[in-house]
């Protein structure tokens, strides 16, 4: 009961701040709302007994990616966007967005959860520890993708430096 109430409150905050992201005229305000949304998502991860994912969510999204975005907005000194989009275009995109939403919810209500249940339950998370579970999976079953990730990061670093350094 307490948990459902908490879920509803955080969900409301997440949706409201999500709406603010797309309605704020000033990019910095959008960025701040997005940080709030990320925090709400981190809260959901905690509720889903995934504290490691929550911590990584805050560190990577709120602490790294958003700092970078805020930094670039400040660096380029982007002013408030003058709205050239016609209300016509906004209407059409909103219809598309709402269509996506209703479609998802429609199919969600029609489908049911199948598939075999795995080993990870509350008791296991509590006794082994969530970080340990993630770590074990990451370094055994998913070792190759994990290593490839490092290559991806390297490419991204080189790419970012090359692209932003010279005039293209």
């Amino acid at each position: 009961m307490l948990e459902s109430l908490f879920f509803l409150i955080v969900a409301a905050v997440a949706v409201l701040s999500g709406i603010l992201v797309i309605t704020c005229k000033n990019p910095i305000n959008s960025a701040l709302s997005l940080i709030l949304t990320f925090f709400c998502v981190a809260t959901f991860y905690v509720m889903l007994e995934a504290p490691f994912m929550a911590a990584v969510q805050v560190i990577v999204y709120a602490g790294a990616i958003m700092v970078l975005i805020v930094f670039v907005i400040m660096l380029l000194n982007i002013k408030t966007e003058t709205d050239k989009r016609t209300s016509h275009a906004v209407l059409i995109s909103s219809i598309i967005g709402l269509f996506v939403l209703f479609e998802t919810i429609y199919f969600l209500n029609r489908s049911s959860l199948t598939g075999s249940k795995g080993l990870m339950d509350s008791a296991m998370i509590k006794s082994v520890g969530h970080t340990e579970i993630i770590g074990k999976a990451l370094f055994t079953d998913f070792l190759l993708p994990f290593e490839i990730t490092s290559l991806l990061l390297l490419v991204a670093i080189v790419g970012a430096v090359v692209v932003s350094k010279r005039k293209i």
Binding site: F52, A55, G63
Partner: protein, 348 residues
Amino acid sequence: MGYEILGLPLIYYLAMLGKVIVVFLFVLLTVAYATYAERKIIGHMQVRLGPMETAWHGLLQPIADGLKLFFKEEIIPSQASKLVFLLSPFIALVPAFIAFAVIPFGDTIEIAGYKIPLQIAAYYDTAAGKVIDVNVGVLYILAMAGMGVYGIVLAGWSSNNKYSLLGGLRSAAQVISYELAASFALVAVFMLSESLSLQKIVADQAGVFGWYVWKQPLAFILFCICSVAETNRTPFDLPEAENELVAGFGTEYSSMKYAMFFMAEYANMVTVSAVAATFFLGGWQGPTPWPILNFVAKVYFFMFCFIWIRATYPRYRYDQLMRLGWKVFLPLALLNIVVTGIVVTLFK
């Protein structure tokens, strides 16, 4: 006390509330008197007396300063982005305080038959017979350290002032660079402890010679220097370099909001000191048999070092600062991780 909420006795919640209040007051008092101690210590180091007028040897100086700031006029620049301008002092202050939630400041104590661990976000599980705390405590601290930068950056941006903006941008670049090196220094520690829970990390450092500072001297030095940079203290206080940037990101701030930035800086010092004490000097496991005293003494030792460094070193130049962070500290921290990894694999 027979009530239970979510399967835990009510006293656990009361104890948690009590711990929150005690820690909050402790940090607040430390912050207030750190400003006094700083003026006094630096004064004596420079053969001056420091504040002497308010009460005996100026002991009430922090309260007088607080009152003065409180009654000053509140000025909001007319072209400022108002909401962000009002919000950023809070964004700067809050992460410094809430990082304390996972830091253990004493051993488990017993109240009315219930065992209460002296760590805010923790409880004693009677069935398992051990203290359950945040499984990802280290990551939580790193996450909160990453949040502190927003306060400064947004303050700089929202003031709509060139000097503030430059101060904010400098600070963002500096904090991001040094946070990376500081985090990598901590990685070596939890490679040894094999856990991200701070309870476990402290428990591993029993006895003075079990402290991680002996096993990880390089990580300790790196963490200390990087945390000075992360808290924007001299010799790395470039975001507020008076002679170049007026007062940096805080130029347009006045009254209580200025005081909050001031408090945030000192609260960050306390937090970083507590983290350093927990990771490298054994937390509450220390030379004397009184856990809380051990912890507080270690925190104050680091605070003293912060002030000492300020009185000793001149400020770095911006390019030197960046070169130091990226070309010296980061490679050293990575090297430390590699060496620790090899040693751990060979001797396990």
